[in-house]
């Protein structure tokens, strides 16, 4: 069910139209139109409660929007099941780490890989004997420098590695578009750069588009191609990192908060 | 055939003969009688699940224990020729004894269940039910036991020409008082507010200085008391026999699901629905008696699994 090749080089990979989501009177996301271009790293910044995570939830259909549509490669995917979205290449990681805690790191990876290879419904081949799955899993563990922790259970590895594994699970699906919800939150400053480097390296190498919700301003301004500043569910400012940095409203609302 | 004395406006009937108003009232009262039996058991179940997330299948066992202990008290009182008000006292005392006896179980068994996932409490309390049933049989033997002094003392009254046991009104009064008392306790007293808070988020409650372990023991005491009271109040109208706990628990589960897990309002409304539907169902389609209850259950489960007043499902539960 791969996507037809001609849409691959199309400019916009993701578009939202009039997205709206209320929680009581709070307009978490208020009539928001967003456009994400192919191959770019887009960061979404904004004070707490500005609707960043809700936006991510709406795009990945974790939460259903009250109004508006989401288009992925031009197709309306608003109503699609998250599992179908993931197989089509729109994948997300979670702010609070969401792993298969009881399983080993390798098994976590294998689960994601077999889902990508569409082999999950094969009841009789042996997972461990399937070279393709095992190779891909080992390869990913190396890419994300988790090979030494392959056999320990996901619950026991340090928080930084859990964050990286969470992201690695997304990459195992070799996604077209990846939504990262504060990938570096809770990670020690020393490891933070390491985590971001791994992500950036994976994005550049796999020519993947990334939308990252991030608080850490120097991470945002050093890595992202484009920045979107949100405030009370609306887009305050949009554009190159340095332009948005200068925008007074952004400074007043977001920088002031720093 | 039945003479058509008075056409009741909202009468619905499948069979052709209309029932006269007296029978309608009697069936309605029978429905209430059965509904309040279910209500008295399900309240305890809902409190335990609502506040402690413990699904206590053994609740039927405590209901049975209430019946047996009260039988023992009433029989002793009757043998000793005690005055009638002492016999009345056996009901609350029986319920109290059940609570006192059962509270010892809380630290041993139930305390360990809070940490385990909900389904485990289903299993552990199921095993506890098996044990309770045997203990009661060991102590009270296998014969059905009945204590009829109160039932006969109340005698019968005639409603529109039909005789009706007056004792049932004691049951209605008791159930209503209990429902109002519980409602007032939960929504009007300080401790009630704490309980409801603990139900939402027990860790938050303990963070705010609520000694949750004592609180849980109190909740259990209340739940056991109500279950024991159920058994005690109904004993004079029926009989205590080994295995009665199992019968009681199946139907109260149905009521709990339909009313919504953990909601007291749900327990009241659902037990009324089941009681009345069963009452009228038996009159019109006697052959299908038990199936009515389960049909309502399956319909609820398909269209509104969280029940009438249950809390919304979190994503995780979907």
């Amino acid at each position: 069910m791969g996507i037809k090749s001609d849409t691959k080089n199309q400019k916009t990979i993701l578009r939202t139209e009039g997205l709206r989501k209320y929680f009581g009177e709070v307009h978490a996301v208020d009539n928001l139109d967003l456009r994400v271009n192919h191959g770019e790293i887009l960061s979404i910044i904004g004070p707490n409660g500005s609707g960043k995570t809700t936006l991510l939830n709406l795009i990945s259909n974790m939460v259903e929007p009250d109004e508006g549509k989401v288009f992925f490669y031009g197709k309306d995917v608003t109503k699609w099941a998250p599992s179908k979205l993931a197989r089509m290449g729109l994948v997300r990681s979670f702010q609070i780490v969401n792993l298969f805690d009881g399983m080993s790191v390798l098994d976590n990876m294998k689960a994601s890989v077999i889902s990508k290879l569409g082999k999950t419904n094969k009841p009789f081949i042996k997972v461990d004997k399937d070279k393709e799955v095992m190779e891909r899993s080992q390869q990913l563990l190396e890419l994300f420098k988790l090979s030494d922790k392959a056999d320990s259970t996901a619950r026991d590895i340090p928080h930084g590695d859990r964050k990286v594994l969470d992201v690695a699970l997304c990459f195992a699906l070799d996604p077209k578009l990846i939504l990262l919800d504060e990938p570096t939150s809770g990670v020690g400053t020393s490891e933070k750069t390491q985590v971001i480097q791994r992500i950036e390296e994976a994005v550049r190498k796999g020519d993947v588009t990334a939308v990252i919700v991030e608080h850490d301003m120097d991470v945002v301004f050093s890595y992202s191609d484009k920045v979107v500043a949100m405030h009370r569910g609306k887009i305050l400012a949009e554009g190159k990192p340095k332009d948005v940095k200068k925008n007074e409203e952004v400074i007043k609302v977001i920088m002031g908060e720093l | 055939m039945v003479k058509r004395t008075q056409k009741l406006p909202f009468l619905f009937c499948f069979s052709d003969e209309l029932m006269d108003s007296a029978t309608f009232v009697i069936i309605f009262l029978n429905g209430l009688y059965y509904a309040f039996a279910l209500f008295l058991i399900t309240i305890g179940l809902n409190i335990l699940y609502g506040i402690l997330r413990v699904l206590n299948i053994a609740h039927g066992g405590f209901y049975a224990m209430g019946a047996f202990i009260t039988w023992f008290l009433m029989n002793a009182a009757e043998q000793a020729g005690a005055p009638i008000y002492l016999v009345w006292l056996c009901i609350p005392v029986g319920a109290l004894l059940v609570a006192l006896v059962s509270i010892t179980l809380e630290p041993i068994l139930f305390k360990r269940l809070y940490k385990l996932p909900e389904e485990y409490s289903l299993l552990a309390t199921f095993a506890l039910m098996l044990m309770l049933d045997d203990v009661l049989r060991m102590v009270f033997g296998g014969d059905p036991l009945s204590a009829n002094q109160l039932f006969n003392y109340m005698g019968t009254i005639s409603i529109l020409g039909k005789t009706y046991p007056a004792y049932n009104f004691v049951i209605y009064a008791c159930a209503l008082i209990l429902a109002l008392g519980l409602w007032a306790f939960l929504y009007r007293t300080n401790m009630g507010r704490i309980l409801r808070g603990a139900a939402q988020d027990s860790s938050m409650a303990s963070a705010l200085g609520v000694n949750t372990s004592i609180l849980y023991t109190q909740v259990f005491f209340l739940a056991f008391f109500i279950a024991g009271l159920g058994g005690a109040v109904y004993l004079p109208a029926t009989s205590a026999y080994s295995g009665m706990g199992f019968e009681a628990i199946v139907l109260s589960f149905v009521v709990m699901i339909i009313g919504g897990l953990g909601s007291l309002r749900g327990a009241l409304v659902a037990s009324l629905i089941i009681g009345l539907v069963r009452g009228f169902g038996i009159y019109y389609v006697p052959r299908l008696e038990l199936a009515f209850v389960f049909i309502i259950l399956i319909v609820t489960l398909i269209f509104r699994p969280r029940g009438l007043f249950g809390r919304k499902f979190t994503r995780e539960e979907k």
């Binding site: 094969k122 | 044990m131 299908l288």
Partner: protein, 325 residues
């Protein structure tokens, strides 16, 4: 050959020799135990593997048993079916259908609601068995006549205490092998992921609804096969087989055996059923003892026997290798 394969082989050899060693009664008991082992094995792909506790799975045990009795009813006249193989095929088809129908409703919910929905279904099934007297024989149930195995008729006692033991053993081994392959397969890993974290499984592309349904249907078929094999041994099927009390037994078997392991349900079925048989023979107050044992395992020893074994093996291996170096 890996150690667990050796153990399995030894177990197989012993199982084949047992009828010659132990008395006829215990062969009969073992045959019944294998039926329950198939039932417990199937149940565990739902409970232990996918994390869905069904509290009404005796519905499928009853479905299998009643299908056998139903196909043998004298009123079918010429269409009466005695060949066990044909019966088993029909049982699989029926349980597949019913499993799909009920599963589609059940798998939309998890945790306590899944348990209670199944409790609702088994209660309705039980009251139907009770009510439809002309078809199901009501509370007295239906007799089960002697089936033919591969077309061959057997004497009453030889069937029950010898031949049918090997028949059940054979089907058990086939069922265990298939289940083992499922556990080892990507599908098995996907189910494990669903148990560990349903939300994340959905977000890495596993359609959890469909997979839970698949696990439900597999466990339904296994349950029905267990019931179908048990019916000729007992000679009569009655609604008690599907009572919600007997639904609890299979859950105890899995917990006792160790639900997060493959062999757990098999060990659990052996330990629980034989324990129940011995305790019931020992005293009429058997439910106190059984209830106590279950509470012990659920509260103090949730890993179960095989859970403990699988934790103990690495320790033993470490100590064993430590001595060697």
């Amino acid at each position: 050959m890996k150690p667990y394969q050796i153990v399995a082989l030894i177990g197989l050899v012993i199982a084949c020799l047992l009828p010659f060693i132990i008395s006829k009664y215990y062969t009969f008991i073992l045959a019944v135990t294998f039926c329950f082992a198939i039932y417990a094995l199937g149940y565990n792909i739902l409970f232990g593997r996918t994390g869905l506790l069904s509290f009404g799975h005796a519905l499928y045990l009853g479905l299998g048993a009643y299908t056998v009795a139903f196909l043998m009813r004298p009123s079918l006249g010429a269409y009466r079916i005695f060949s066990m193989e044909l019966i088993l095929l029909i049982v699989i088809a029926v349980s597949l259908l019913v499993g799909l129908m009920l599963g589609a409703i059940c798998v939309r919910y998890t945790r306590i609601f899944f348990g209670l929905i199944n409790l609702g279904f088994v209660s309705l099934w039980y009251s139907l068995l009770y009510k439809l007297r002309d078809y199901t024989g009501g509370s007295d149930g239906l007799p089960v006549y002697m089936p033919t195995l591969f077309g061959i008729e057997f004497g009453y006692e030889t069937f029950r205490t010898f031949v049918f033991y090997y028949y059940v053993l054979g089907i058990f081994l086939l069922a265990a092998f298939i289940m083992w392959r499922i556990y080892e397969s990507p599908f098995g890993l996907a189910l494990k992921a669903i148990r560990e974290n349903g939300v994340r499984a959905e977000f890495i592309g596993i359609p959890i609804g469909r997979y839970r349904l698949a696990a439900y249907v597999i466990s339904a078929i296994y349950g029905a096969i267990g019931g179908a094999l048990w019916a000729p041994l007992s000679g009569q099927v009655s609604p008690d087989i599907s009572s919600w009390l007997s639904s609890g037994d299979v859950v105890f078997m899995n917990i006792l055996g160790g639900m997060h392991t493959f062999a757990g349900p098999i060990v659990g079925a052996f330990v629980f059923y034989n324990l129940k048989v011995q305790v019931m023979h020992f005293t009429t107050y058997w439910s106190i003892i059984l209830g106590g044992i279950v509470i012990f395992f659920v509260i103090i020893f949730p890993g179960g026997i095989m859970g403990w074994v699988s934790r103990a093996i690495p320790k033993i291996r470490k100590r064993f290798y430590a001595q060697k170096d």
